[in-house]
């Protein structure tokens, strides 16, 4: 299934991606944690996962065409 991953802030550097957004094919039954593992992102670097606008945990099951937004620890201001 096709999953879009958005890399925010320094997560893009960790992944060494040229773009802020990458699209992958993942096997069915994949979870957020699998995305982090495949992209080589240490879980502690991701404070917040937003899928289709909703806050999610790392064990959330992915669905086709999900947009997974990964955020490092941030503050407002």
């Amino acid at each position: 299934m096709k999953i879009t991953v958005k890399l925010n802030g320094i997560i893009r550097k960790t992944v060494k991606s040229d773009t802020n957004e990458i699209t992958f094919n993942f096997p069915d039954e994949s979870r957020v944690a699998d995305v982090l593992r495949v992209l080589g992102i240490p879980p502690q670097e991701v404070e917040i996962v937003i899928i289709n606008g909703v806050y999610c945990s790392n064990d959330r099951l992915l669905k086709p065409n999900d947009v997974v937004n990964l955020f490092p620890p941030i503050a407002g201001g």
């Binding site: 958005k6 925010n8 802020n20 937003i50 941030i74 503050a75 201001g77």
Partner: protein, 568 residues
């Protein structure tokens, strides 16, 4: 010897007083609010003789504690009509601590329109007539002062908005580059300073030191160093991208104020977000990772240049990019930077003006997305035109003058950049904080604090907890970005224990913070506010935000219970 400096603008006297025992363990917001509760009748006219302006560094300011250089300014607010504490970074707080000043209380009111500078050194303090600065913006005021006086470490000043005593007027504080770009922005503190005839406070250089002795200096140093190291490591995102990094996140949860709080997502977000800002800064020779106050290890500030490489502004923040950007449908980052510069110069709160201009757009006075029109209106504030004066009095006044139904304010103060329908816990803070709609009073960022941001359950408890943590942080002179979490409070308790040579517990700090909040709530009650003032505007409760199809649905009865167990 630490002191409280009392400056009376009616008779132009300056008296140094000993610090009463009951104020010794208070700093920042705790001391500004306590002095106001002790000395100001909550019913006074905010711009009259009876109101006071209290300026104070925090309890940890001047120590080795990281990011502890924030300055608190408190007064009865001309914007909300209630008590206010607004804080800023910059260089003033550490200088006040070095000068041994626990607080400056400015009281009274001059009989004519004369303007003064208060000049403070470690030996003397004097009021100097300064009519020649009248009508100057903050940049010109600071430039003039720095060319005239030697050895100045910091300048606190007001621009044209403060001189006009407008409710959106800020108090500017110079940063490490001596630019007046850090502001006590909210609640019209600049109007109160203007009403006192005080154009600027200038502080002479002094050797950095804390207010009072640290009993176990070595022990304190160890904890402070360890904490600094941790913050440097964990706040790299803020150092690299500034607060604007928040924009993508809030946009992705559907809570980014857009088109006067109509939508939670902005089409032009990629043009004004943290990445866009960082790239612009790099290309145009600006600076990221800029510390706004001495000893800041987070360094989230920045210097922003235009495409010719010329300086435009510093301290260009998320709230400005959103409220004068997405909330006005403006996606031109250079235009928003110019707004920021003009607001800093005139001494206007970018947040309040962003909300006010969007309401003006909703009224059809100018079109959404009109950057040139927005710039013209900001300039009119400084010029004192009738429209400028209306906008300069804030969002609520604009809504009233133009009969707009959707006016995003609580207690007369414009909402920050977290839509309360999506960030419901932050919405509870907007409604219930004695400060009015203020994200820095207790921001329940989605995904934190164990509550679901889209459900009403648990939001009141989370808001109360974080409002209390935040009050501790604001009383220490610490920047909020050290983190409003339990671990921070524990670290502060450990630092204070070393400072005093006796154990201070987290519980004591939280209790004292609750006392501060309750004193502020009581001040507001005596000023005439009721539970009806602890409410979000009606449209947030009936109009679904398109991004998440939800309303603000925390019950009024629940809001009223937030601090109920603490009330008398």
């Amino acid at each position: 010897m630490i002191k409280i400096m009392r400056v009376n603008m009616s008779n132009l006297s300056i008296i140094n007083e000993d610090v009463p025992d009951r104020y010794m363990n208070l700093g920042g917001r705790a001391i500004t609010s306590q002095i106001l509760c002790d000395e100001v009748d909550p019913k006074v006219y905010p711009l009259g003789e009876g109101n006071k302006l209290v300026i104070a560094p925090g309890l940890l300011t001047g120590t080795m504690a990281p990011s502890s250089g924030r300055l608190s300014i408190g007064s009865k607010s001309p914007l909300t009509g209630g008590i206010k504490e607004s804080n800023a970074g910059g260089t003033a707080a550490t200088t006040l601590a070095a000068l041994g000043i626990k607080a400056i209380i400015v009281e009274g009111k001059p009989t004519d329109c004369q303007k003064f500078i208060l000049k403070v050194s470690d030996k003397t303090a004097e009021l100097i007539p300064a009519d020649e600065l009248s009508g100057f913006g903050n940049y010109q005021t600071v430039g003039n002062i720095l060319s005239k006086y030697q050895d100045i470490a910091s300048v606190i000043s007001i621009g044209q908005a403060g001189e006009q005593q407008l409710a959106t007027a800020t108090v500017a504080v110079t940063d490490m580059d001596k630019k007046p770009c850090r502001h006590c922005g909210r609640g019209g503190m600049g109007a109160v300073m203007g009403s006192k005839g005080l154009k600027a406070i200038i502080l002479e250089k002094a050797i950095k030191k804390p207010l009072g002795e640290i009993m176990d200096g070595e022990g304190f140093k160890v904890i402070a160093r360890e904490w600094s190291k941790k913050l440097v490591e964990e706040r790299k995102v803020l150092t690299n991208f500034g607060t604007a990094i928040t924009m993508n996140f809030i946009n992705s949860v559907g809570g980014l104020p857009t088109h006067n709080f109509s939508y939670g997502q902005f089409e032009g977000v990629e043009r004004i977000n943290g990445t866009a800002l960082a790239e612009r800064i790099k290309t145009n020779g600006g600076k990221a990772g800029h510390a706004c106050s001495p000893g800041c290890v987070i360094r989230c500030s920045n210097v922003y240049n235009d495409s010719q490489g010329e300086y435009v502004t510093s301290g260009f923040e998320y709230e400005t990019l959103c409220l004068l950007g997405s909330n006005c449908d403006i996606d031109d980052i250079d235009a928003i930077a110019r707004f920021d510069r003009l607001c800093d110069d005139f001494g206007i709160d970018t947040m309040e003006i962003g909300c006010a201009v969007a309401v003006l757009m909703e009224a059809g006075v100018i079109q959404f997305g009109d950057a040139a029109g927005t710039e013209r209106i900001i300039r009119e504030i400084a010029e004192g035109t009738p429209l400028g004066r209306v906008v300069g009095q804030g969002t609520a006044v604009v809504g009233k003058v133009y009969n707009v139904e959707r006016v995003p304010v609580v207690k007369g103060q414009g909402l920050p950049s977290y839509d309360p329908r999506v960030a419901k816990g932050t919405g509870v803070t907007y409604a219930t904080s004695p400060m009015g709609a203020d994200h820095t009073a207790g921001n329940i960022i989605p995904g934190r604090y164990g509550v679901d941001n889209l459900k009403p359950e648990g939001q009141v408890g989370a808001s109360r907890l974080v409002q209390t943590y935040t009050t501790v942080i604001d009383s220490m002179g610490l920047c909020l970005f050290v983190g409003a979490v339990e671990e921070t409070i524990e670290t502060i308790a450990r630092l204070l224990s070393k400072m005093r040579g006796q154990t201070v517990t987290s519980e004591e700090l939280l209790q004292r913070a609750e006392q501060t909040i309750m004193a502020e709530i009581e001040f507001n009650r005596r000023s005439g506010m009721t539970a009806n003032d602890d409410r979000l505007p009606e449209f947030f409760k009936v109009e679904r935000i398109s991004s998440q199809s939800t309303v603000f649905d925390v019950e009024d009865g629940e809001l009223d219970q937030i601090f109920a167990d603490k009330s008398a």
